[in-house]
Amino acid sequence: MGEPAYTVASDSETTGEEKTLPLPEIAIGIDIGTSQCSVAVWNGSQVELLKNKRNQKLMKSFVTFKDESPSGGVTSQFSHEHEMLSGDTIFNMKRLIGRVDTDPVVHASKNLPFLVQTLDIGVRPFIAALVNNVWRSTTPEEVLAMFLVELRLMTESHLKRPIRNVVLTVPVSFSRFQLTRLERACAMAGLHVLRLMPEPTAVALLYGQQQQKASQETMGSGSEKIALIFNMGAGYCDVAVTATAGGVSQIKALAGNTIGGEDLLQNMMRHLIPDSENIFKRHGVEEIKSMALLRVATQDAIHQLSTQTSVQVDVDLGDGVKICKVVDRAEFEEVNKEVFEKCESLIIQCLHDAKVDVEDVNDVIVVGGCSYIPRVKNLVSKICKVTEVYKGINPLEGAVCGAAMEGAVASGIIDPFGNLDLLTIQATPLAIGIRADGNKFVPVIPRNTTMPARKDLLFTTIHDNQTEALILVYEGEGKKAEENHLLGYFKIMGIPTAPKGVPEINVCMDIDAANVLRVLAGVVMPGSRTPAVPVMEVRMPMVDDGHGWCAEALNRTYGATMDLVTLKKA
């Protein structure tokens, strides 16, 4: 590829407000996975998956830095496995994007065959590829952008038109901050994000369309159908419960976690070489090669264990380290017991949140790369008490097809046969709230709230004559504030002097049609009819990188002087 690999957009351009396009351009759907990715588009009558020059519908997500001209998995001549050996290939970026170096997920990425270094101070990790024996630093956004450019060029040559709008699928557990990083990567690649869809909701949309079609063909009543969608890829595990009728899919609940094939792989590697972390610590050329060889061999073994009950692992890692071992399926399942338990609890939680009994679930859909693992399929069907999972959706293509369909719907395309007569009512995957009552996280918009949404909660001061209050906005599920993602913070000033507990501070959160979060804060004194200070309205997220230490720094400087408590009424 001779042309520039990517264009750099300014930071302010990331969210892109330009929504008025003169022509109805059909947005494409992109599933950018931790391990592989795909592109699909509505071709006028149905969804079509696009192939690269090597005739692949699913392309490995990686970028190789060679001699200052990076190339990604869309165009690369070599296989992912071959490229990994020399340390100049970066992958698994979806696991690292928007995370700081205190995050356990970043720590778990240290034995990848390139450099992930942490200083544990709450800044972005140092990620680098080894090019001609020099570490070339990069960021997850940059790598994803390079990759997205390749996808864009591929799609443009296919469709013979410029591509601008995309619908991207994202993991349920992504915070709003991570979403902005993903949008930034798209902006760098010259793409505008029309919608970000949690992966299982894209599958839900496809399911809703299939159900609608089926009920039209049979002239059925189109009664409500409930489906549980379990999606486990290389980096993330997501669950959704959807209720669909007449093309309207209502997301009842979402649950997500950072567990995936990568964890299965790492556990297996540790099982094969218990001391692997120490062996590979030096991160020299030789160690990287050994790490990559071990990785490839383990990955192959796991793949084979999906179809056979035991497998022979035979690999020479160099420097006298050799593995020659038979691994059986039971062993693999035992080593990853915890991962599977986490999957189970995620499903149980999602059913509980949806207030749906297992008996009421009509269909169970299992998708994602890990859906081929027998244990995964079994655990889902066991909890959902079904003997067979839903067959109508391809496990590796469901999400991208749903995204392409949403792309057509959101672009205003009308299908004469009613195939696009669809609507997905989304829910918030994570709670959004503020720090109050000491160091607690107090949700204002609970998780699984239907979007768009607007909710408010009352708080009050904790000190007499407290004139300022700090609003720290977090997103997540943790009980303590610091267990959640910090989205931003601002100060309310000029609170009239009064004893503690008297001023009423109303914190309102608003998620609009475009999924933009705004936080409003106002102060009212009892007996007064008007707000004591002008209402503050702030768009979130507002923090940039390095937000990990920012909460700590704020606390060191201000302590509890500007704290709030929830207002309890007798």
Binding site: D456, D512, R556, V565
Partner: protein, 187 residues
Amino acid sequence: MRCYGLTIPGSDNRFFIPTLTPPSLSFKSKPITRISFGSKLKATFNDGVVADQLSFYDLLGISESGSLMDIKSAYKQLARKYHPDVSPPGRVEEYTKRFIQVQEAYETLSDPSRRIMYDRDMARGIHLAFNARKRYNHSDNQVSEQRGEWKSRWQSQLSGLKRRSESKDAAENMSWAARMRQQREEL
């Protein structure tokens, strides 16, 4: 992403000693009445809400004897109309507000226990205001809710008595929303 391992020293406000001298006690004992203010601030935030006077049944366009099936299908039909993804470009903001109201009505009426509560209040002719619900920590506390049930029942009886003696007329004028909020917060 998460700020793991970053302890926040000294953030526990129990250990914070206020340096300001507390003002006179008489000030402190005066309880704040939510009613006088609640609607006010809401007006600032929810400007232009049109459905203030409509009941949840009116919002969904169904009769008060409507079945759960009716509620569900009415909701899905209205969602097709008001959801921002399908509403006409020029009216997104207006329709979004409407959608949030429909959502609220649906959530209340599709939950049997909340519907009973709502119907009871409607039968008593209590003014029905929109934005009825306060779902503070609603989904997460199921277990502790159950455990604390007897306690909250007892407390609600107690505070019920207190409320009646404190603000006899206020309780009658209180909007359905305020009453619901109060009940929810006592849980």
